[in-house]
Symmetry: C2
DNA sequence: TATAAAATTTCTTATACAGAAATATTATAC
DNA sequence: GTATAATATTTCTGTATAAGAAATTTTATA
């Protein structure tokens, strides 16, 4: 849906063919042999064969057994490890968050879950063009129970992990509206789960309202982002805009993760 | 060293170039930009650029940030998952184990660690050409503390996991030579770790001697294999042969895992 | 042993590729 | 704010390479 590049490049047809073959192996329950592959990708048997042999040479596939079935290779294990170790949600999400900032004219934050002490680590803050800004600092840890991003991420936790968090955490009040009752927090998180976003209204920082969106995909919590504004600037229509545009940003980011 | 295919295939030069680029990104601590890549692979900048754009289109790399640095893509996460879920140590190891069987003229076994109940599951049994064979059945579970493959795998466990195993396990005797003393087992495993192989002499099955080799790589225990023979057939020189040829098979298998 | 099916190899022309060099886009110095 | 340098991207062209048809070898099955 986004206006991204969808036309294949005019270079590297072999790469595109190789990917089609790899994807076919990926999506086939039992490892296929040459015939099964060439029957299911738009290439002749000899072309598939030659590409497979090169992929095998590269360690991208392995051909095993008397039936000569093709398996994805162990090379991908190293690549995947590197992908994870250098994955930068900050860089991935930033363009979409900048757009969200421009659409809402408010400050947009990006955070990740710090599992060591169950807090939100603020990775990036895209300042509102409006003059009066909020006091937040990149790197600062916030509580999960009081912040919009934190509550958004809580809403994605598996039940047992959420229970563990609830058990071990003291809900220390930060403002007069901080939720300090565990049952109430539970309900609040349930609501966030149902909505797909979490609202924090004067709970974490005085006179600030935040809408937090989780970045959750394939069972993994990549982080969360939020739109935050001084409460006086958030009228009814404004909040709806935050939610609408936030949801779009969320979809866009998840699509490229 | 093995007489495997080492000559690049005469087809798919773009694939080979693409792999060189991916490998450079893999081995560079901070994600490189175009210039850094093209300075380090034997291609011109424009060639590297065009391949990168196609790799990006395929989801194999992503270009992020103002500095346009290249990261390995998330596509590899799916590929790696599939690699692991279809990984078949049996098929990978079999040719080398068949060779070992022929070199020793004894039965060769392949097993994996069943972590659910801490036993060895026998995956394959390559029968000795000699007439008198041993009683073992594919699928049969053996104890880690009494079998050669089990002890080989124990020698690769991280210390805390080994301690946990020792604590929870009753060393029930299977023969008159089964090690039933935990301290003695500890020393035996230490010895196996130092040797790189484990010997089981009449401990698991009466009148049988086994030499077990672990298949351990990158912190992962893929399984173990063993050469097993009736004790009366194992003279001094024979045992040395088992160890020598077993080590070679182990190296060969680990090289292709 | 005969037959079928699948895997390799051979061969050839159109085409996709590689690199040089020009251009555009940044970053940085002045 | 302009000049300069560094990097990224595009254009262009001869040549190497890829794609497919078909023959051949290998392997499975009757």
């Amino acid at each position: 849906m986004a206006s991204e590049q969808v036309t294949p490049p005019l270079y590297g047809t072999v790469l595109l063919k190789a990917k089609a073959i790899l994807d076919f192996i990926l999506n086939t329950p039992t490892p296929p042999n040459l015939k099964e592959i060439s029957d299911n990708v738009p290439m002749t048997k000899s072309t598939v064969f030659k590409i497979l042999k090169t992929l095998e040479f590269c360690g991208f596939v392995r051909c095993l057994g008397e039936e000569k079935r093709y398996y994805l290779g162990t090379t991908f294990l190293s690549y995947a490890q590197k992908t994870l170790s250098t994955f930068d949600i900050n860089l991935v999400a930033k363009p979409f968050l900048a757009q969200l900032r421009d659409e809402t004219n408010e400050t947009v934050n990006l955070g990740i879950l710090d599992t060591s002490d169950s807090t939100v680590t603020l990775l990036a803050k895209l300042e509102s063009p409006n003059s009066i800004n909020l006091v937040s600092r990149v790197g600062k840890g916030m509580h999960l129970y009081s912040s919009a991003m934190g509550k958004a991420m809580l809403s994605c936790l598996p039940e047992n992990e959420f229970d563990a968090y609830l058990t071990k955490t003291d809900l220390v009040p930060l403002t007069e509206d901080t939720i300090t009752d565990k049952k109430q927090l539970c309900e609040n998180i349930q609501q966030a789960k149902a909505n797909g976003y979490a609202i924090e209204n004067n709970e974490n920082q005085k006179d600030v309202l935040c809408v937090g969106f989780p970045l959750y995909k394939d069972g993994r919590i990549y982080g969360a982002f939020s739109v935050s504004a001084p409460r006086y600037r958030v009228a009814e229509g404004n909040l709806a805009l935050f939610i609408e545009k936030g949801r779009i940003a969320q979809q866009n980011i998840l699509a490229v993760i």
